[in-house]
């Protein structure tokens, strides 16, 4: 258990296999049954292979979107929890998702229908909303101190969440009922992406965030001791906090603009993973990303099948699982 190399290899292998299996198996579930051996049957040309068409065109994008969103939200949750030194923090604690939601609401209500290179106006507006929220919270955290106050960050984020929620309600109130319904559906989270383009648009942002995450784990371990402990062990604390804040915010913004504000992934997954592999972020962070991918893809399969042919928003599934889990966590923690 003590050897971090062994634990990292075991965790990445196990959770990676789980994520790969989820992405491959998820497209098999649905109203039209398909078989994996026929999907990859090279003897039938793609144009005639119905199973392959359903797999690659209709269902795989959704599984990949689930994997990308799940991995991003789970990893961002780990980073935010360490940055804020608060195990109950989520990727949405600092108002990123509320900003995203407000942007999406405005785009829906103002009927912005243009889309650029497969990225819809709603997606773009939701990402812009996330950027605004991040800028406001960061400005607040810097304004009161010469450094970077995580307490102010937390308070500003919580306040901004409440304020944006009020604006969202206001926009919904003045919108007509058809748009209000669309906005409510967006808020529940949905991975029904149209093809690969939206995923490719979110991918660079997520990749950049994950590159930053790779640099962070040691700083996150020391920050969970305290900032002074980190500084005395050679960490540039301010820089590490900034990188953590911006990379986790960017991953959250990209994930929410792709799949909507899907709740609880960012808290259930990190805590489950910590119970299994321990608190060392060099293991917890990659393991959470991989398990987050598998978890959300699995939840989405449940959302598509439990009440078939009615498709539930995946956010309802994660919240139904996550709510009780969160309560259990609160009671269990100290």
């Amino acid at each position: 258990m003590t050897d971090v190399r062994r634990r990292l290899a075991a965790a990445v292998a196990a959770f990676g296999a789980l994520a790969a299996a989820a992405v491959l198996a998820a497209p098999l579930a649905g109203s039209t049954p398909i078989r994996l051996d026929r999907v990859f049957d090279r003897s039938v040309p793609f144009a005639d292979n119905v199973d392959a068409q359903i797999f690659f065109i209709a269902r795989l994008p959704r599984a990949l979107a689930g994997a990308l969103v799940g991995a991003s939200l789970a990893a961002a949750g780990v980073v935010f929890q360490a940055l804020l030194r608060n195990p109950l923090a989520t990727p949405f604690t600092l108002g990123v998702s509320a900003g995203s939601a407000l942007g999406a609401m405005l785009a829906i209500t103002l009927r912005l229908h243009l889309s650029l290179w497969g990225v819809s106006a709603v997606t773009a507006a939701s990402f812009a909303g996330a950027v605004c929220a991040v800028a406001i919270v960061y400005g607040m955290a810097r304004a009161r101190h010469s450094g970077f106050s995580t307490n102010v960050l937390l308070l500003a984020g919580v306040t901004l969440n409440a304020f944006f929620s009020a604006l969202i309600l206001f926009v919904q109130y003045v919108a007509d009922s058809a748009e209000a319904l669309r906005t409510v559906r967006w808020l529940m989270g949905n991975l029904d992406v149209a093809g690969y383009r939206p995923i490719l648009a979110a991918l660079p942002l997520c990749a950049l965030s994950f590159a930053a995450f790779a640099w962070l784990p040691r700083a996150l371990n020391l920050l969970s001791l305290d900032a002074d402990a980190a500084a005395s062990r050679g960490i540039d604390v301010l820089r590490a906090q900034r990188v953590a804040f911006f990379s986790a915010s960017m991953a959250t913004g990209a994930a929410v603009s792709l799949g909507g504000p899907i709740g609880f992934i960012g808290i259930i997954v990190p805590h489950l993973v910590r119970l299994i592999v321990g608190a060392d972020h060099r293991v917890t962070l990659p393991a959470s990303a991989l398990f987050g991918a598998a978890f959300l893809v699995g939840a989405d399969v449940a959302a598509r099948t439990v009440m078939a042919p009615v498709e539930l928003p995946v956010g309802i599934i994660t919240a139904l699982v996550g709510g009780p889990f969160f309560l259990w966590l609160l009671v269990r923690a100290r």
């Binding site: 258990m1 003590t2 050897d3 971090v4 190399r5 990292l8 929890q81 360490a82 030194r85 608060n86 195990p87 790779a214 640099w215 040691r218 371990n221 020391l222 920050l223 969970s224 001791l225 305290d226 002074d228 402990a229 500084a231 005395s232 062990r233 050679g234 960490i235 540039d236 910590r274 321990g278 608190a279 060392d280 060099r282």
Partner: protein, 240 residues
Amino acid sequence: MAIDRGRIVGILGPNGSGKTTLLRLLAGMLKPDAGTVTLEGRSLASIPRAALARSIAVVPQETHLAFDYSVLEIALMGRYPHLGTFQLEGPRDLAVAREALVATGTASLERRRFSTLSGGEKQRVVIASALAQEAEILLLDEPTASLDVGSQFDVSALLARLNRDRGLTIVVATHDLNFAAALCGSLVMLSAGRLIASGPTGETLTSLSIQALYGVVADVYPHRAAGHLTVVPLRRIRRD
């Protein structure tokens, strides 16, 4: 003010006198507004962070974890300044961390969760983590402030042994005058951010200096059994 290699120096002063600030300046965590802090003639500001962490280790007053690590994981965190950006600990790092746990008498706790330890055990584990840094200088901020008498003895004896056996230079900020008298060869006294006295403990720890520092009349005398000066506070003087 200068601190010689291999000494144990105590920093005394009332709350808010600047003890912690002085420690943070010595650790290179704060940049001085005026003047410079040098380590063997080199300005701290010119030494890269990781290199500085290989020379100077810091033990905070108390450690509260946001997440629960094992004792060995805490000790291994002392090895971070010795690792490359993406490097993981190797066998030698593990050996150094385990040896630090042995030196602090916490080797039997290796697999325990940090949160399940007593205050005294926690403090010794944090000192082990600092030892694993293999720094020659150890800075401690009120290491015994929240410990019972037995644990205070343990920490005091541990620091004296580390100084004697490994030649560590130790700087310790403390409110405990008898702890300082027992452990420290020399003292630095701060009042309202100013250095008001420094020198060998036998010369600086006097009724007069204690009255000037804390506004307390105290009897200071050599204790025969303890083998060092003892301070008995007698009464408070109203200074206003």
